[in-house]
Symmetry: C2
Subunit: 74 residues, 2 copies
Amino acid sequence: MTLAKTIQHLRKQAGMTQVEFSARVGVGLRFVRDLEQGKPSVRLDKVNQVLDFLGHHLEIISNHGRKNITSSES
Amino acid sequence: MTLAKTIQHLRKQAGMTQVEFSARVGVGLRFVRDLEQGKPSVRLDKVNQVLDFLGHHLEIISNHGRKNITSSES
DNA sequence: TAAGTATATGCTAGATAGGGTATAAATTCA
DNA sequence: TGAATTTATACCCTATCTAGCATATACTTA
């Protein structure tokens, strides 16, 4: 599941509209909408603020196996 | 480990300087430095670009247990 | 269908991230 | 210790993110 859809899912699970959610999290309504629409260039601190409110956080996970160091096979 | 330190660790593990790294990833040197210094307000898409290069990605993880819906115990 | 609610999109203004560059500080190594 | 390398900090400039508002579109229910 994408970040956008996961957050949307968690918000709905918490029974909040975007309006209520943005107010309680402390970010702009517009941001919540952009976020849930999958805008890629959002600010990380804002995302973390949202996730923290939802009792979640981000972690770095290895892409099991094939690295992507731009396959430097000369 | 923090996002900043993890990325720095992965970069060094790959044997690259910040200069080489930024060039190969395709982001500015300035960004790499801000990122590794723990600047919280970096852009998510840039972070993902870096992580993808390193063969990693971000995932949403639940903070096991205590939610943080700002403890709305009235 | 209509009304009410919720979400999506377009716009502007203000704030700031990122790129580039220069320099300072730290680190490495002979 | 000194030189070379790497990393950190400071500055300016441009691009764009966020907030806020208005409006349009979707969704729900009577």
